[in-house]
């Protein structure tokens, strides 16, 4: 399911137009990004937490060429699903 399908599904459930839904979704994503950018944990009940994690720099070795490379530190977005979300899928399975 790509973004377009997701928006259509969203608009179908909400009764909004796809345009409005898309705009609202964009607003939501921008808000989440802004919150994460300020180094906040975006906590969504019954869904999960988005958070920014700091990865230290590290030396990686290319196994084919044995080339050592220094990977710089970086900030990544991590999503930790809530227990309810996990249980939901596993109960279904």
């Amino acid at each position: 399911m790509n973004n377009k399908d997701f928006v259509s599904e969203l608009s179908r459930r909400l009764g909004y137009s796809q345009k409005d839904s898309s705009a609202l979704l964009g607003a939501l994503v921008a808000e989440i990004s802004a919150q994460l950018e300020e180094d906040r944990i975006v906590s969504l009940p019954e869904f999960g937490n988005f958070e920014v994690r700091k990865k230290l720099e590290r030396v990686v070795i290319n196994p084919a060429t044995q080339q050592r490379m220094l990977v710089p530190p970086r900030l990544v977005v991590a999503f930790k699903p809530s227990a309810q979300l996990k249980d939901k899928f596993n109960e279904e399975a």
């Binding site: 909400l14 919150q35 944990i41 490379m69 710089p72 900030l75 977005v77 999503f79 996990k86 899928f89």
Partner: protein
């Protein structure tokens, strides 16, 4: 971390951005996440633009062993939600570290260069460890400023620091060792010199004073190193001169060791040289070599002189140059023989008196066979004197005639220059003797062996038994 953004914060933010009421925003936001969670079960994957991808991953069941109890347990398969952020979101979040890029590490050259840099800095600062440490800590600080703090790097740097300190200590110990070596050598030198006479004690004192000067200079050296930069050339020159003097001393010591083995003469000679070297060593650089060369020439001259002396003494012993008596007797013998031959040729008369005179001489010789050589010479010398005197009395021609008559009693050598006129002595052959040696010993030439052989009637002169009595003939010239 500035805290948590709760659902309410999101709703407020969305309402502001979309210019809608918070209630609408709340329903929308809630609906978004319910749709995601609902759709994931069916679709397995949901892509949301600018946010990322939610994926539902099936994990197969697997067996696992409890590391503590070793119990085999079966883990059921489950579904796992994976969120992969969109590139736009990644870049946005990673903005603070965006300037960093992956660096390819050439580990060998990289570490070597770092070590080299540390060593050079340590060499420059030598004693100022603090400065060197600061320089070494700099890269670490830079890394920490950027928040880089690599594990490998942080491990490397303390090792380097310890290495540098070790190398500094090594250099210091090396300096101390060289100083100690010098002092040890000086001590050895004094020991070896104390074995010799007291003459050599003066140069010892000079050595010690020089050594003190050297040690003082070496003590100065590290202090001047502290000053750095400005005094560097001076320090270098001082150290080089010290090293040169060390080399001189080593040469001198080697020379000493060699010459102490020779003789006291050379020791005296060498002490003089040594004094000169010690005095010159501090002032000029070329002179010690010159004196060394001189000493070498002196050694060669001494050797040649000894060689000449040895050959000379050998020749003197061989030709008996310094023993005039031998020559005198020989010459007298020769001259008197000539006189005798002259007399016999000129006259043929028989005289009884010389015969009587002659016999006692032969008797005396026969009585003392042990002192043959000397007595015979004496007899030979005394006999001609008598004959000379008697020739003046016109009586020795008779003795010659008498002798010739007597010679008929003995077997004679054919064509021999001498006649056998009697038995001079009897010799008992011992081991190691030969007829040739007997002839050489008693008559002065090996040619006389034929008379011995003839007198004793020896059939095979090459085979003579030990203990045989050999009659030595009394010979007279024809």
């Amino acid at each position: 971390m500035s805290g948590r953004a709760l659902l309410q914060d999101l709703i407020v933010g969305v309402a502001k951005r979309a210019n809608i009421s918070e209630q609408e925003a709340e329903t929308f936001v809630r609906m978004v996440f319910t749709v995601i969670s609902d759709s994931l079960a069916d679709e397995k994957i949901i892509k949301i633009r600018n946010l990322g991808t939610f994926k539902l991953v099936e994990i197969d069941e697997r067996e696992s062993v409890d590391p503590n109890t070793g119990v085999l347990t079966r883990v059921k398969g489950y579904r796992k939600i994976v969120f992969t952020p969109d590139n736009a979101l990644k870049d946005l979040i990673n903005k603070p570290f965006a300037q960093f890029e992956t660096v390819i590490l050439n580990d060998n050259t990289d570490l070597a260069e770092m070590e080299r840099g540390a060593e050079s800095s340590s060499l420059i600062d030598e004693e100022d460890d603090d400065v060197a440490l600061d320089i070494e800590e700099n890269p670490e600080e830079l890394l920490e400023d950027n928040g880089l703090a690599d594990e490998a790097m942080s491990e490397e740097i303390p090792e380097e620091a310890s290495d540098v300190t070790l190398s500094d200590k090594n250099e210091e110990t090396v300096l101390k060792e060289t100083v100690q070596d010098d002092s040890m050598k000086l001590e050895e030198k004094t020991d070896t010199e104390k074995v010799e006479e007291g003459i050599i004690e003066e140069p010892v004192g000079d050595d010690m004073s020089v050594a003190h000067v050297l040690s003082d200079e070496e003590k100065i050296q590290p202090d001047s190193d502290m000053d750095m930069g400005q005094t560097n050339p001076e320090v270098d020159s001082v150290s080089s001169s010290i090293e040169y003097q060390h080399a001189d001393y080593q040469k001198i010591q080697e020379q000493k060791v060699e010459e102490l083995n020779v003789t006291t003469q050379t020791v005296e000679h060498q002490t003089i040289e040594h004094q000169s070297i010690v005095h010159q060593g501090r002032e000029e650089s070329g002179r010690p070599n010159r004196s060394m060369r001189i000493s070498l020439g002196g050694m060669i001259a001494l050797f040649v002189f000894i060689l000449v002396l040895m050959t000379g003494s050998y020749l003197v012993g061989y030709y008996r140059l310094l023993c005039p008596c031998v020559f005198l007797t020989k010459e007298e013998n020769y001259s008197e023989m000539q006189v005798l031959s002259d007399k016999t040729d000129s006259r043929s008369a028989v005289c009884p008196v010389p015969k009587a005179k002659q016999h006692p001489a032969t008797d005396t010789i026969g009585k003392t066979p042990e002192n043959q050589a000397t007595k015979q010479i004496a007899a030979q010398t005394s006999k001609p004197v008598q004959t000379v005197k008697q020739s003046e009395a016109k009586s020795k021609e008779d003795s010659l005639a008498q002798l010739r008559k007597k010679a008929t009693q003995y077997p004679q050598v054919k064509n021999g220059a001498y006649l056998i006129v009697g038995v001079k002595s009897v010799h008992t052959l011992k081991s190691g003797e030969s007829l040739l040696r007997l002839a050489q010993k008693n008559y002065g030439s090996r040619d006389f062996v034929q008379y011995i052989v003839e007198l004793n009637q020896i059939k095979n002169p090459d085979l003579v038994q030990i203990g045989k009595e050999i009659k030595l003939p009394e010979l007279i010239k024809k």
